[in-house]
Symmetry: D3
């Protein structure tokens, strides 16, 4: 199976579905980890270009730790915009390149604009990618891929309907998130948040909800042509 | 795996999850089909005792067609009552006898009292069945069993989150429902409803929602101690 | 058309659907106004029997002002209980006597137990009333009657999906409510609430929501066998 | 009454509300059937211009079968965009030309971007069309028109609150949909879907939910200035 | 202010609102901690009477650690029943004795019957307690008390709308829960659950949701006569 | 505390939260009242420039009556667009200028596009305003500010979870709304709506829901980094 995971910023996938992606890899599936922006506004101390370069390196290391392929759409932080034709084409091409059997992305009602916009872009464009006459220079993808929405940050307004046991990949998930050194510092300084501890709490909380050590929660996108009768998650 | 399915009346399971139960049997699992009432008020032409006897026979034949074990709680139609201590003990003993790994029952917001009451009885009593000091003469069941709610009649207010492909067992499901000859007649006469055609429409509708020929839809009961990280449905 | 309206206490129907009932009468339909309890605990100054007698008289006058038939189930305040077999039989017989084409009752999530219990009794028993073998000495009612839920008290948690213009019957509605003199006093004293003004505010609020002077809001009970393709409300 | 129905692509209205539109015409109302895009990306075998020409002809035939007036906004498939000022003006002018008493369009949470965007355009622009100072060269429409949302494709996440009996117009509805020959082929080839059979299943399912042979389901858009106390649907 | 907290079993309040109760006490309010059952079925090794005696002692110690008054309704585990007249009278008298300005109890949709039944009993009876003519030998309580629902066990289906910072009372909360030694053992043995660690995870999770170290989440019961314009929680 | 209230048009804040803003001022807080558009399309008799000038004056008087600072984003009616980069920068700068501790704005599901777009702009941009590298020439705001959503117009689809008692500021609220003379006339003529009476009805209705004379209702925006453990509303 080919899995495409799309987060807004470097580190979002690590926080919200890193353990699941590692399990996909463990079980022999191909995983592409894509962040939409370059992370170019996530710093108090660096210039935009500096921080983008740093975060690109961190995200690459995180993907390597997971065993996933790395991709970045190159958008700017705070500028993801589902109404933007160029961004739409970029996401269509991402899907056409990855040719996924399963897509994971943000929930539609998350805590900031970029998350909500990339969720909508992935929803819209994974459909448009299947239209031969939407020409982008790349061959169309021949199916409307099932989508799973990952948790909102800190779970506000989110109730998982499917859980993935990540006990066996929790150490990898922690390592993946710790690869984002610059972000750990910024969020510590800016919001007094230790995102590793926060991620561990949520993973433990979800684990307790389904009777395992650590878990991640998801809800399927239940719309026409995306339904399924099999469990696609690990 | 041991599967316990509990419907309010003879024919409810056949309508709402017959194809899924047949698939469980096909795949080697043990299935108990239990209806709560004797169906003793479902007639315009027979006495209560006559119709109960007729319907007991029909339900037994349906269970045999499915390859399931047959059970009946012996309650009266229109008298299922989750606040009744004797009925609670009967359901506790049903669970303690069946020792299920999975329970299927009605959704809490269905179209008539008996459906809603048995749903609550199964929810409550599958928990109480695990308490050693709730003494009924039968040994306690050692786990809080996951529950899947089947569809409401005609799907009002219900959105499945999991689908089971019943294309391979649709013929069995039809045969099971047709075993309820008395009920086909009564609903035809009383409500001008052809429940076989109705069931086929719903099964086809659910099939179209998830991309197969025929399907049945369910929602898991997501509460503490009933969560899981695996797909339990076929 | 025959309309059966069932409220928990004397004055509930007047507050929540009096204008609609008056319109039904205006348009030539038969209306039965039934309150479940005798109102026998709604006083700070009278004995239980005294207040029940007073309120029975008030309710009768209110029904007369509306042009409706008057009925009372004779239950005690604070003792409506959907799990009680005798109360079930009483509501079955109410339905079998009224033979309604349309039922109006409380919403399931209202502000006190009696309201919620009578709502469930009406839902359950209007189904059971159609079963010939549920014998109560009265002939079964030959259809499962559509139900409309009226507003919760002060609209908490309630969003109407259908509105009835009661501008032409607002004066009657006020008179009907004012017939409940004892209750106006008690709620004024006990809760510092002027229920006439309160009712006028809600009626005006609902009117503004649908573009008329005064309105009442309802939601249909959308379950199997109760659906319709026509507007049943005035 | 003047009815304006707006679907995303040629064939959407036929699938989701064709029977209701035919009933409006039957009862003497004026109906405009408008599809937002030219259907110019709905093919595997034709060029964009070829397929747009073919589908325009099919949609015109379908409208004629219904007795409705035909309109097309001329947008491109996969490019409907509620944030686009030119598209907004086009929809404002559509409303100003049609001067509807009732609008029917897609639900906001449907299965693909174009459906969701046209839903939002119709919601926004049917309001803006009433502002005299929003100048487009056409006279403003003097009311905020009530909107009914039609079903999502295959009913995911949708619960109708009003039903229309289309038993008498089902044959017309089938003929209207069959007029979209190119689309029948494409969806058969691309997604292995027989949209006529699919439409029949849904229409039958909705019919069973409300006690008729065939039905279509809708939910009113309940917002300020769009409320009503009458049934506007047939 | 007088606060009445009512849980189903000994230890429920400690898990779900112990930190909040300790804060109420800290700030000078009077708190009554009441568990509905004697905990008489919560053991694998003791007889019913033995475990009830043990758990009564544990609950008393927990209340003392909190500085709260201790109460027990004396019901049996697995037998809380909102339809039971005797249980209703017991809860009415509890309210009439405590005369609370604020009530905290279980959410209506929790994971087992006892929790849901006591929630309904408290909702119903805190209203009935205000009726002078509902005679129980104790004077009626003169107000309809606001209710806050505490979290479901492990937060399934629950979204807090108000948070209480319990960082300063977390140590007390842990000690209160650890006072329930017998229960720690039983749940460890029976369900392999460490309820102290589980409680800490949830408290930390809720804390992260609102920006403090540890928190508890609640939702107000928003019905007529229970609304307020002030924050009642600490 | 610094409070920033952002409405779509002149008069929206007056209708939906004027009493609360006046209370904030009364209690010594700083309030900025900002309307997004110039109100330049809200007339049947004036040119766009004329009406914009008139309404600017009216809004300024209303803010003065409240004791609030006045601001306007200068957008055009019917053109608020959350996907517009320039509008995003304008809202970011509004937040960076106001440096609020609390933001009040429209609910996401209100009755017209401008309301929904400004709600989304405020949600998105109050986050982006905190990013140092999103450079607009103004210093970044150092926190993600809590947001409260005010009621939809006429309360459709809205259930308040927090109420503010505005009995003491109701006279000011009426005066503030009456300052919008041009709008009173236009809505009277255009929609036959007396918005002062309408506002009074809603304020009284909300007051009755929470036991005071007049009230306004709100729901907090519960997302990551915006949670709180204190009541921020008066």
């Amino acid at each position: 199976m080919r899995v495409l995971a799309v987060g807004a910023h470097p580190d979002d996938l690590e926080i919200l579905c890193g353990g699941t992606l590692a399990r996909f890899v463990q079980e022999g599936h191909d995983v592409v980890m894509c962040h939409a922006t370059r992370g170019n506004r996530g710093s108090f101390v660096h210039t935009s270009e500096e921080i983008a370069a740093i975060r690109g390196g961190e995200a690459l290391r995180a993907a390597e730790l997971c065993g996933a392929e790395y991709a970045c759409l190159g958008f700017s932080d705070a500028e993801i915009n589902a109404a933007d034709r160029d961004q739409q084409r970029a996401v269509i091409d991402l899907v056409r390149d990855a040719r996924p059997d399963l897509i994971i992305t943000h929930s539609p009602g998350d805590y900031m604009g970029d998350h909500n916009e990339i969720s909508r872009l992935v929803f819209d464009c994974s459909f448009y990618a299947a239209l031969p006459l939407y020409e982008t220079g790349k061959p169309y993808h021949s199916e409307i891929t099932p989508i799973y929405f990952m948790e909102t940050i800190m779970g506000h307004g989110f109730q998982p309907s499917e859980f993935v046991d990540i006990s066996s990949t929790m150490a990898t998930k922690v390592a993946m998130l710790e690869a984002h050194e610059s972000q750990l510092t910024w969020l510590k300084d800016h919001n007094d948040v230790d995102i590793v501890e926060q991620m561990q709490t949520v993973s433990r909380f979800r684990g307790q909800q389904c009777g395992v050590q650590y878990a991640e929660g998801f809800v399927p996108c239940l719309t026409h042509l995306r339904g399924t009768t099999r469990r696609l998650l690990p």
